[in-house]
Amino acid sequence: MEQFAVTTIIPLHLGGYDVSFTKQSLWMCIVVSAITLFMIAATSRRSLVPGRMQSMAEISYEFVANMIGTAAGEDGLRFFPFVFTLFMFVLFSNFLGLLPGSFTVTSQIVVTFSLAAFVVGMVIVVGFMRHGIGFLKLFVPHAPWYLLGLLVPIEFISFLTRPISLSVRLFANMLAGHTLLKVFASFVIALGGAGGLLSLLSIAPFFLIVAITALELLVAFLQAYVFAILTCIYLNEGLHLHEHH
């Protein structure tokens, strides 16, 4: 579908690789600038009694800080900048993608998978830095020894599924939402063009689109939240080696 197509804006080739500046790159730049502008505008006044912008920034700060505190513990707060950046990036990508005519960065599996792979890679690095070789205990469940030969590979595969399920969840939600909007929008056009009494009916899918857009706003926030909280939960395992029960 047209709104998911990645088109090249400035063609660039470097050492045999296609590194063109695409619609994707453009919208990532827009997302990052929007976040930066929002945070700069919100923190420029720094009044004791916050205004609207400052409140929004403070609420998002506290929201993420609480999330890390409950999901990853106090020492997880060292990763606050990382989780906050991730949360804001996904949130703004999802929200900006809802604007008509825009491009949803998170509806591309490459983007979400890179983010998820980075998260899991970081958990592995943090785990090995914290616990050394003891991090591998994560793959050894409480079980009789004769079952470990079977259970350790299963745990290992289960660990490796994380980047996939994390990225596919975000990607699929965004893709499904936008596809749904497009399908209902095409109903409006088809019914409107049908003429006569049918044209009047085209108002029904139109109202449905309005309702679905509201729902998509919720999904956009919820998916950013899920992505961030799962990052915290995985970080927690890297930090504290919580065993599964």
């Binding site: 299963i154 595969i157 599924t161 699929a172 919720l218």
Partner: protein
């Protein structure tokens, strides 16, 4: 100017507490929709199969033992997928019952 009566202050504090408590429920994240749950479980399951199959295929490709490892790891992947779904369901269960207790 006379200072406000302590009784008034206490009343105000109580009202603020009540307001906060009433608002707390609103600020909690909404429960996941059925479609969201279904999507979550299915991605967990399919991810297990993909990773297991991928590892098996990779080993076969390296060792030239098609299709022994593909079969073995596909089964292990299915087991990992089921494990993931069970864990996700447990999490969700704990979340839901915690929410119910909070009401």
């Amino acid at each position: 100017m006379s200072a406000p009566e302590p009784k008034d202050l206490r009343k105000l504090g109580d009202r603020l507490d009540a307001f906060q408590r009433a608002n707390e429920a609103r600020h909690k994240t909404p429960p996941p929709s059925s479609a969201g749950i279904a999507l979550r479980f299915s991605t967990e399951m399919v991810a297990g199969l993909i990773v297991g199959g991928g590892i098996g295929y990779g080993i076969d490709w390296l060792a030239g033992t098609k299709p022994i490892f593909l079969i073995v790891f596909f089964v292990l992947g299915a087991a990992a997928g089921i494990l993931n779904v069970v864990r996700a369901a447990k999490e969700l269960n704990a979340e839901m019952s915690a929410k119910k207790d909070g009401d």
